[in-house]
Every structure is written in structure tokens, then in C-alpha cells.
Amino acid sequence: MHKKTAFSFPDEVLEHVFSFIQSDKDRNSVSMVCKSWYEIERWCRRKVFVGNCYAVSPRMVIKRFPEIRSIELKGKPHFADFNLVPDGWGGYVFPWIVEMAGAVPWLEEIKLKRMVVTDESLELIAKSFKNFKALVLSSCEGFSTDGLAAIAASCKNLKELDLRDCDVDDLSGHLLSHFPDTYTSLVSLNISCLGSDEVSFSTLERLVCRCTNLRTLRLNRAVPLDKIANILRRAPQLVDFGTGTYAADLRPDSYSDLAGAFSSCKELRSLSGFWDVVPDYLPAIYPVCSKLTSLNLSYATIQSPELIKLVSHCPNLQRLLVLDYIEDSGLEVLASSCKNLQELRVFPSDPFGVEPNVSLTEQGLVAVSSGCPKLQSVLYFCRRMSNEALVTVAKNCPNFTRFRLCIIEPRTADYQTLEPLDVGFGAIVQYCKDLQRLSLSGLLTDRVFEYIGTYAKKLEMLSVAFAGDSDLGLHHVLSGCESLRKLEIRDCPFGDKALLANAAKLETMRSLWMSSCAVSFRACKLLGQKMPRLNVEVIDERGPPDSRPESCPVDKLYIYRTVAGSRFDMPPFVWTMEDDPSLQLS
């Protein structure tokens, strides 16, 4: 009797079924069911995400997934954002582009984060991928507007050019003029990080005019306020708009022109930019405020009263980025006006000042936690905190997925009781069962790590600074946090014991960063020798670690799992700890 099973479906049927499975996790699961599913799946996977560009080689990726259309790569460790990773560390995209140029000519989309991108890479992209559609560069560096011009000139089907927080060498090459007159497919353009003062407004207007599918347009600071009205009138279908400089001498006709232009944009849901804001011009955006879901005011140096007025006009706000000028009073208004708020980020206006320059304390955070039931994601900079406030916040917001608190002065205790903030953060991890990302600050002992190891079972990313007493703290985290993928630690007294005792855990994680801690060179060598599937890299600008006693702590340590072996592009200040087969664990 011929037994029919699900596994006897023709490949095309399975492939069709798999095409409905988009998430990487699910795709990975599908590929592990059996060998034939692995084979079918790999031929039809279209999108690949590589969280650490050194975890796998480009050749391996292409060999396994020859038909990809989209690739996303991440390079440098997160702490590179704060200047903790020296220049030249790595994260070069060029080798990836070279491999893909040859083997994957139908590639459509490249998304990069914290990578070094050269003009050569951009020119190779422009030349090699005939159907190229989307380039998203997030916190990247190493390229100039010349490279971007090549993309603009050659990629006829380009839909998206998004430069987020990149460090671009702006050669004033009139980037926009390189888009041909026949080019109309632009959907999303973000040039907010370009520094040049020269933007040809007529070129911009013509581009906006002919690209009728444009939905996202984020301009740079060079575009003055009096040009905005013309642009908006030519693109009333915009959903996401970033202004340039939001300042001008107040003239009644230009104000009404601007207000009129904003009101013609019925689809606008997201606003950003607002450099150099002159408050008198802010009401021009009121016509769109009632439908706004996202507002980024992190460059707007306006005071609390203006912020309050603005925020009160936005009842549907889901996402707000703002400076601490908003103060506790402004956050209280936010809490009562914006019941749909899901994400709040409050940045410090004077991060290096010793004394508080604004009246923003834990009270603002408590108010928002109390008033906004849908709040899920918080990034909050402040100068004082209490366990009581943190416990209140935790109880108010059990749905938190991301909680990042930065108390500006390291090791600041609970201002009311002068105790460590262990209990407060402990409440956060205890009540917020779905917490995926947590950043700690303030005075913290090993106890907070015990709480984290015990309760934070869904935690994927943890950032720690100036905290803990001993190796026990690190041990709690490594042994308890089952979902941990990324751990970054600076200036903590964590040393060899916890690291070596939890070596196997490191293979289940993407990466571990430790800087200014107490891990000895000896321990690094041992770890490198015992764990062949980890790259253990010591970063030390003082010189070779073996020029100092083995017991000396290394300056910075970056450990990541990899199937690609040691990397070949290390700068002189990075040393990789070699495998020693005789020492490996079985």
C-alpha cells in the first residue's frame, strides 16, 4: 500500500507554502524539519538577516541562499555609538558587496547598520544590481556624496534611499541632481544627516514633483523653512516628513503659506527635523497634529510651555522623541493627552552639565507610566531616581518590552533613601514579563543581577555600566537569562570566574562586550583556546596584551559566536585569541 504523507508533496507546493512564511525565526525552524525541507527552503529564501557580519562569511550565505533579494547586515558593537570602539575596528561591507555582485545579480535591497561603507562599495552596488530598489544605511560611515550620486544616477528602480544618522563626507556634489529626469520611482528619501549647505531647491522640488509615489521625505538642516511650503504642496501624499531648519524671521505671509501647505497634507502621520526651532512658527503644524502618530522633537530646543502646547494638539501620538526641556510638567500633560502613546524617548539637553538645567525628574516618568496604558518602550535620561518610582512604573506598565534608563551621574543612589536601585530595577524585571531590552544605571549591587537572572526570562539585550560588586553579578545574568543574545558591559568589577564558568553560554548569544572590567588576558586566552566557535577579540590601544603580565585586565573585550573563524581584517589594536584543539571541551 502506498502511504501518502505530507512529505511527498511536490517541491513546488512546499515552496509555495513557505513563501507565506516571512519571519527569519520561522524560516530557520522550517529548514530544520528535515533535509528536503532544508533544501527547498534555502532555494526560496528571499531575505537574510545577519546580526553580526563576522558571524558568517558572505560566501557561506550566498552558497546556502543563492536566490536572496534582500540582505541586512550589522557591523560594529552597539557601544560604538558612544565612541567606545576605536576607528578602524572593522565592519567593512565591501567584501560582502563583491561576493554578491558576482553571485546575486538580482539583489534588490541592502540594509546596513554600523558598518563602514566606501564610495567604492556604493559604486559597485550601482553597477552590479540592475533591479536595485532599496538602500538603508543606519549609523554607517566611510562614504561621501559621490558614492551616493552613483546610486542615484544608475539605479533606475530605486525606491528607497535612507541615510539614518550616517557620517557622510558631504562634498556638496548636488546629490539630488544625479537622479535622471526620467526617474520617478522614489518612495522614501532620508537625507537628514547630510551636512552640506548646498541643496538645490529647484532640483529638490522637481524631484518631489515627478515622484508621485513619494511617501517619506526627510530633509537636512540646510533646507530653510521658507522652502518647505513649496515642497509640501508638491507632495500632499506624504506620510512621513522631516523638516530642515525650522527657523525664519517671522513674516505673516510666509507663516500662512506654511500653515496652508501643512494642511494640504492629509496623509501626514510622522514629523521630524525641527532644527533651530523658532516657536512662533510651530502652530503651522497644528492642522496635521490630530492625526500624527510619530513626532521627533529631539533637535527642537524649545521650552516646556511650547512643547506642552504642541503635545496637547496630538491626541493620537504613539511615538514621541523629545528633549528634557519638556520637564515633568510637560510629561504630565503628555500623560493626560496622549493615551495611545507606545514609545517615549527623553534626551538630555545638557548631558555633561553637573547641575540639572531643567526640572525633569523621576516624576515625569511616573506620570507617563500612569497615564499611558499602552506604553511599551522607554528611553529616559534624568538626574535622579528612586526605588519607589521604579516600582510604581513597573506596576503601571507590565507590558514594557524596552526599558532604558540613564541616570546621568554614574552610581547615583535612590535620592530618597540613599540605597541602591536594585529593588526598583528588580520590580521592572519582575512585573514586565515580556521585557526584551533593558539598560541599567544608578547605584547597583550584585543583587540587581540576581533579580535579572531570576525574572528576566525573555530578556534579549542588557546594557550595564558602573554597576555590581563582584563576578557573582555577571554569573547571575549569564546563568539565568535564558533568552539573552546581547550583553554589553562597561566599568563593572566583573572578572574571569563568571566568564569562564559560563563559557558555553556565550555560544548561545550573538555577542558579549566588556570594557574597563576586570577580565585578565589569561582568561581571554583560555576562553579563545577552549571555544573554537567563539571569536575572542581583545581591543587594547595601549599595545600588545602580551607585553603586560597575563593577570593584567584587558582594556576591551568583544566575544562573538561565529562559523567563519577568525577575521582577517583586524587593525593593529585588536588581537584574536587562537583556538587550541587540545584544550577544547568535548
Binding site: 558612544f82 525664519a248 524671521d249 530646543t301 538630555p348 552639565g353 540613564c406
Partner: protein, 204 residues
Amino acid sequence: MSPENGKLLPETDAGGLNFKATELTLGLPGESRVTSDGVAKLGSKRGFSETVDLSLGDNKDSNKLGQFQINVPEAAKSPVSKAQVVGWPPVRGYPKRGTKSCKYVKVAVDGAPYLRKVDLEMYNTYQQLLTSLEDMFSCFTIRNYLNDKKLERVNGIEYVPTYEDKDGDWMLVGDVPWHSSNDTYKTFKRKLNEEALYMKHPRN
């Protein structure tokens, strides 16, 4: 109008400011001894805390000074702040994007013995610039063409803000939108507008 026309310095005025203007002090001539919010101002280089004027509450002009960056370059930090720890607090730094080139221009006022320099990058509008110049040259009153306001006149003489553009012509401040005209300024000069004075503002 000859710039060396020293007769433009008033001999007498109501508050005896003329003497104060030539008094030997640590401050620069013409500079007021106190700022607009009453704090005594030293004749020293502006530190970071002064470039971002953060008075709380209702002073709506409090943001006029300076541009804001989330990450401040080392050189601009206030002498009051402690030694910086690298990368703390964890704010994003965009070193190239944040720092713009300084656009210093010379400002000369007819009758003042010294010139001053201002960084045009510090201002977002003409109004801010004029107010700042007025602060710097507080002995002299500046006619505000933009809003046609009558500024408080201390000594009965008004000055007109003009500048020399790249073609060498003397232009009245304010005709061209602020951001598009920045790169044509060379020197500001305050010229006495005697004609306007006599026609519109008869002296007491």
C-alpha cells in the same frame, strides 16, 4: 559717511554712560556689564553653558543663543563640568554633522573705538543677530528695520545695520532670507542714519 567721524560719540547723555564706555575695565568697550537676565557677565569666552541659554519658564528668547547639539564637542564644555568619562552619558555623537563651520564676520560701529566679531552660525534669524549686536554695542541704538520697532534710545542716535556683500556693495540688513544670505556677509557696519534721524526722530 566717513567712518572716522569721531564726532558721532555723544558728549553728553542722560546716564553718564559715555564715561563708562571709555572707562578702563576688564570688559570690552561697549559691552554691557550685565546680561539681559541680570547676571554679571565676564569678558571671557563664552562657555558651553552660556551658548545654550537655559533659563526656565517664560523667557521666550532664551533659545536665541547658540545652536544645540545632543553631543557636545570636548572644547565647548563648560569649565564647571567634571572630567568627562568616554562615552558617558550614552548620547549619540555625530561629530561631523553637529559641528558647523564658524562664520565669523567683523562688526564695526561708527564711532566705536574697537570692532567686534560675531559668529553668524550662532543665530537663526536677523532679529536674534540684531539683539545680540545691540547687547554688544549697548552704547548705541540700532534701528530695527525688520519690524520697524522703535528700540529704546539711550543717547538719541540710531544706527542702521548694513553689511558689505561679496560684490563690495553696502546693503541694508534684512532683505534676503537669513539662511540664504549667510555666505555673502563680509563686514557689518553700523552707519549713522542722520537723514532718517532728522526726518523721523527729532531729538529731544
